[in-house]
C-alpha cells in the first residue's frame, strides 16, 4: 500500500475495485466503515454484488476484464469536466499528453458499451472520486489477476495522479495483499527478478553488492516465473522444484496442466505445514513450522514489519523454515551458520536499504513501516510524499484489451473466481477447522436466476462446469449477486477445484495468470 490502513478511516472517498474487502480484509473494512460513518463516499466496482458492494453508496458491476475501459472512462469524465489536479500534474508527473490522447478515445457512451456500466454511473464515480479532498483507492486480486493486470494497476495509478490523490495522507493506490507476509516475501526478493529491497538481479551494482555480501558468484539473469517453471518441467528443461508454503496444484490455473508438470519433475520437494494436494505428489515432504512455532517477522500489506514470536516448540518432526533452508544450503555446499532469525534480520538490514534501520530491538510493539533507511528513521506512513521513486510520476497511456478468453457459442458464460469469507486460499488450513467447515462445507457455482431458468437448473442442483481445460461438478447457488451471463466459483475446494477450469494465460510482464476471467459451459449433471 502506498498509504497506511489507518489512513483509510479519514479518506473522503474510497474507491474499492476488485476487492471483497469485508470478506478478505475485514480489518481494512473496519476503516472503510469508520470513514463512511464520518461521511465518506464509498464506491465499489465489482462484477459481483459482494458484501462490501451492498454497503456502498454506489456499486457498479462492470463486465469481467473491462477495468481499463472503466477507469479510462472515469478519467475521461474527470478531464472533460476539468476536475483534474493541474498543479499536481504539472509539478509531479510526466507523460500527460500521450495519456490524454488515449483517454480522449474513451467517452462514457463507448465505455458503457464495453463495461456494461451506465454513463450516469461513470459520471457519478468520477464526481465522487475527483471532488473528494482525499480519495483512496483499494484494490485486490480482482485487479491483478488478469492478462492486463499490470495495465489495470497502472490505470489506477493514472487515476490517482490525475486527481493528485497520491503522496498525501488518506489517498493513494493501495493493493491489499492476499497473505499475511506476501509483502515480506516480495520485499525479501521472493521474485525472479530482484534481490531484497527490489534491487534488480540484472543490474551490475546490485549483483556485485550481493556477491560480496554473500561471498558467492551470482547469476546476472532474471529467474523463472511460475508459468516458466511449469513449462520447464513439461519440456524437461527444469528437473527439480522446491515448493515452500504453496499449493500450486490448486492455486495455479489449469490444474490438469499443473499436475502433469509437477509429475514430470525428477525431484519435487514440498515444505508445508499440512499435507497439501501438491505435497501428496512430492518425492520429499519437509514439515515446516506454523506461525505459532517460530520467531521472525512478517511484513504486512501496509509495509509494516511486525515481530512474530514463538508460543510453542515446533510439533512433531516439523522445523522452522530458516533452519531447513540453512541445513539444505550447508549440505549443498554453501555454508550458512545463522544462530537465529535476529541475526538474519541484521543481514537484511545490511543489504536492504528500505529495511536499513530495522532491527529487533526497534520492533517491540506496533513495528515499523518501511522505508526505514537508518536506525533513527521513524518509518514511513505513506509513500511518494515529496517525489516518486523514479522522480516524476509517469502517466501510462493504456488502451483497453479484451481478456485472453472470451465467451462464444461453445462456452457461453463468463466465469470468475474468488474467495469466501470463511476460507483461505486453497483451504489447507481453514477446511481443517470444524467451525469454518460447517459455515461452508463445499464449493458452489453462483449463477444468475435468469441463466438458471434458461438452463433448467434449480437451487442446489449439481451441475457440470466445463472450460477448454476441464470439467468439474459442483452444486449451484441461484443468486442475484452475479449478473446474467456471469458465473462465479470460489477456489478453495479441492473436490471442485475452480482452477481446473481457469485460463493459464498470463500478464506478459509479471506473468500473473488470468484467474478472474474465463469462458465456461454449464450443464445439469447427469
Amino acid at each position: 500500500m502506498t498509504n497506511s490502513i489507518a489512513e483509510v478511516e479519514d479518506a473522503e472517498c474510497i474507491f474499492v475495485i476488485g476487492s471483497n474487502t469485508t470478506s478478505s480484509h475485514p480489518l481494512v473494512a473496519t476503516r472503510i466503515f469508520r470513514a463512511k460513518e464520518k461521511g465518506a463516499k464509498l464506491i465499489v466496482a465489482d462484477p459481483r454484488e459482494v458484501h462490501i458492494a451492498k454497503l456502498a453508496d454506489l456499486h457498479v458491476q462492470h463486465n469481467l476484464g473491462t477495468d481499463v475501459a472503466l477507469l479510462n472512462g472515469i478519467m475521461h469524465v474527470i478531464l472533460e469536466r476539468n476536475w483534474h489536479d493541474r498543479s499536481f500534474i504539472e509539478e509531479r508527473t510526466e507523460g500527460f499528453d500521450d495519456f490524454k490522447r488515449v483517454i480522449d478515445r474513451y467517452p462514457p457512451d463507448k465505455v458503457a458499451e464495453i463495461t456494461g456500466v451506465s454513463p450516469e454511473d461513470i459520471l457519478r464515480i468520477a464526481e465522487y472520486y475527483a471532488s473528494a479532498g482525499t480519495a483512496s483507492i483499494l484494490y485486490c486480486m480482482g485487479i491483478t489477476q488478469h492478462t492486463t493486470g499490470v495495465d489495470n494497476v497502472k490505470s489506477l495509478a493514472n487515476l490517482a495522479m490525475l486527481t493528485g490523490n497520491v503522496g498525501k495522507e488518506s489517498t493513494g493506490v493501495n493493493p491489499l495483499r492476499g497473505q499475511n507476509n506476501v509483502q515480506g516475501a516480495c520485499d525479501m526478493g521472493g521474485l525472479p527478478n530482484v534481490y531484497p529491497g527490489y534491487q534488480p538481479v540484472n543490474m551490475l551494482d546490485s549483483q556485485k553488492k550481493f556477491e560480496s555480501a554473500w561471498n558467492a558468484t551470482l547469476s546476472d539473469r532474471v529467474g523463472l516465473t511460475i508459468p516458466d517453471m511449469l513449462s520447464g518441467l513439461m519440456d524437461g528443461s527444469l528437473k527439480a522444484l522446491y515448493v515452500i508454503g504453496e499449493n500450486p496444484l490448486m492455486s495455479d490455473p489449469d490444474s490438469h496442466h499443473v499436475e502433469k508438470a509437477l509429475k514430470g519433475a525428477e525431484l519435487l520437494v514440498v515444505q508445508d505445514i499440512f499435507m497439501t494436494p501438491t505435497a501428496e505428489l512430492a518425492h520429499v515432504v519437509l514439515p515446516g513450522a506454523s506461525f505459532a512455532e517460530k520467531d521472525g517477522t512478517f511484513t504486512n500489506t501496509e509495509r509494516r514489519v511486525l515481530r512474530v514470536r514463538k508460543a510453542i516448540e515446533p510439533v512433531g518432526e516439523s522445523r522452522t523454515d530458516w533452519e531447513i533452508i540453512q541445513d539444505i544450503s550447508n549440505r549443498l555446499g554453501y555454508a550458512m551458520d545463522y544462530d537465529g532469525p535476529e541475526e538474519i534480520m541484521k543481514e537484511i538490514a545490511a543489504v536492504t536499504p528500505s529495511y536499513g534501520g530495522i532491527s529487533y530491538d526497534r520492533l517491540e510493539g506496533p513495528g515499523l513501516q518501511w522505508p526505514c533507511p537508518d536506525p533513527e528513521h521513524p518509518g514511513t506512513k505513506f509513500l511518494h510524499k515529496d517525489g516518486f521513486a523514479r522522480g516524476k510520476g509517469l502517466f501510462h497511456a493504456i488502451e483497453y484489451q479484451e481478456p485472453a478468453e472470451v465467451v462464444d457459442e461453445e462456452y457461453p458464460l463468463w466465469m470468475t473466481t474468488g474467495r469466501v469469507h470463511v476460507h483461505y486460499h486453497t483451504g489447507t488450513m481453514t477446511r481443517n477447522s470444524p467451525s469454518l467447515h460447517a459455515e461452508m462445507p463445499e464449493g458452489y457455482l453462483e449463477m444468475n436466476h435468469r441463466d438458471a431458468a434458461r438452463l433448467g437448473i434449480c437451487q442446489g442442483d449439481l451441475v457440470s462446469v466445463t472450460s477448454r481445460r476441464g470439467t468439474i461438478n459442483v452444486k449451484t447457488q441461484i443468486t442475484e449477486r452475479v449478473r446474467e451471463g456471469v458465473v462465479f466459483m470460489p477456489f478453495h475446494f479441492v473436490e471442485s477445484s475452480a482452477n481446473v477450469l481457469t485460463n493459464p494465460a498470463y500478464d506478459p510482464v509479471v506473468k500473473i495468470p488470468e484467474y478472474k476471467v474465463c469462458a465456461v459451459r454449464v450443464e445439469k449433471a447427469a
Binding site: 475485514p26 480489518l27 473496519t30 466503515f33 451492498k54 469469507h421
Partner: protein, 266 residues
C-alpha cells in the same frame, strides 16, 4: 498506579492463598493476559491502560474458567473492574466458576472510562486501586428508544448489514461459555453468506444475553464492523430489570427468565 494491586497480589501469592493471579502484563510492547505465579515476577504487571483508560481489556473471568477447569483444586486471584466482578458473580450463578476458589482483586475505573461505558457501577465492591467514579446511565439506549419504530428497524438493519460473522462478540464474551453455540446451528442461522441472516443472527444472540449480559462492553470493542452491540444488550438488561426486577451481576441468583416460575409466584 499498580502498586496496591502488586502489593495485594504479592501478599496473596506469598501466603499461599492463591496458586496464581490472572492479570495483565506488558510484554514486547503489548498488553496481554498473564497468570502470575511467582511473587517476584510482578514487575511487568499493568492494569491495561495504554493510551486511554481501559483500552486493553480482556475477558479475564472467561479465561479463568479454563484455568480453573485444569486446576480444579487450586484457588486463583483475578483482576476485576466493576464489570468483571459482575461477570464473576454471574459465572458463579451459572456454575462456571466456584466462588470458593476465586479471589478477586478490584480496581475502580476512572471517570473517563465510566463515561465511555455508560456504566451503572464502574467499580467493584472492594477495590485497592483507583477512585469510585460516578455512575452513568445509558444515553445510547435512550437515543434509539426515541426513534420511531420504523427508524429503529432501519437503523439496526444498517448496523447489522456490516456484520462479517466473525463471532468476535461471542468469542470475547465472558458470559458465552457454551461449548456449542446456537449461532452456529444451521437449523437456526443460514450459513455461507455475508452478512449473516439479519437481524436474526443478532437477535438470537440478544435473547441469549437476556439475564446474562453484565455490560462489560467487550463485544463492542472487538467488533470489526463497529456494530453497537453493547447498546442492544444494555436494552436487553434494562428490559429484564423492568419486567423481572433482575440485573445480572447486580442481583442475586439467576434471572427469573431462567428460573421456573410457579403459578404461585405470579
Amino acid at each position: 498506579m499498580t502498586q496496591n494491586v502488586k502489593k495485594k497480589v504479592k501478599e496473596l501469592l506469598e501466603s499461599g492463598k492463591i496458586k496464581g493471579f490472572l492479570g495483565l502484563c506488558q510484554k514486547n510492547g503489548h498488553i496481554g493476559p498473564h497468570l502470575f505465579c511467582d511473587p517476584d515476577d510482578l514487575e511487568s504487571m499493568v492494569l491495561g491502560d495504554e493510551e486511554r483508560p481501559g483500552d486493553s481489556r480482556y475477558p479475564l473471568n472467561k479465561l479463568l474458567i479454563h484455568i480453573a477447569r485444569s486446576y480444579p483444586d487450586e484457588t486463583f486471584g483475578v483482576l476485576v473492574r466493576g464489570c468483571d466482578e459482575r461477570g464473576l458473580k454471574t459465572l458463579y450463578t451459572w456454575n462456571q466458576l466456584n466462588p470458593d476458589k476465586v479471589i478477586p482483586v478490584g480496581v475502580a475505573c476512572p471517570q473517563e472510562l465510566a463515561d465511555a461505558c455508560e456504566c451503572l457501577r464502574p467499580y467493584p465492591e472492594e477495590f485497592v486501586e483507583g477512585e469510585r467514579a460516578e455512575e452513568r446511565s445509558s444515553a445510547s439506549v435512550t437515543k434509539i428508544s426515541g426513534l420511531d419504530v420504523k427508524d429503529r428497524f432501519t437503523s439496526w438493519m444498517k448496523e447489522f448489514a456490516r456484520c462479517i460473522k466473525c463471532y468476535g462478540c461471542r468469542d470475547i464474551c465472558p458470559m458465552c461459555f457454551c461449548n456449542e453455540c446456537s449461532l452456529e446451528a444451521e437449523e437456526l442461522i443460514h450459513t455461507g453468506e455475508l452478512p449473516p441472516e439479519i437481524p436474526i443472527f443478532h437477535l438470537v444472540r440478544a435473547v441469549h444475553m437476556a439475564g446474562r449480559c453484565i455490560d462489560c462492553g467487550l463485544c463492542n470493542e472487538v467488533c470489526p464492523a463497529d456494530i453497537p452491540l453493547r447498546t442492544l444488550y444494555k436494552k436487553v438488561a434494562d428490559i429484564i430489570d423492568e419486567e423481572f426486577n433482575y440485573r445480572p451481576g447486580y442481583s442475586e441468583g439467576k434471572s427469573p427468565l431462567n428460573i421456573l416460575g410457579s403459578a404461585a409466584e405470579e
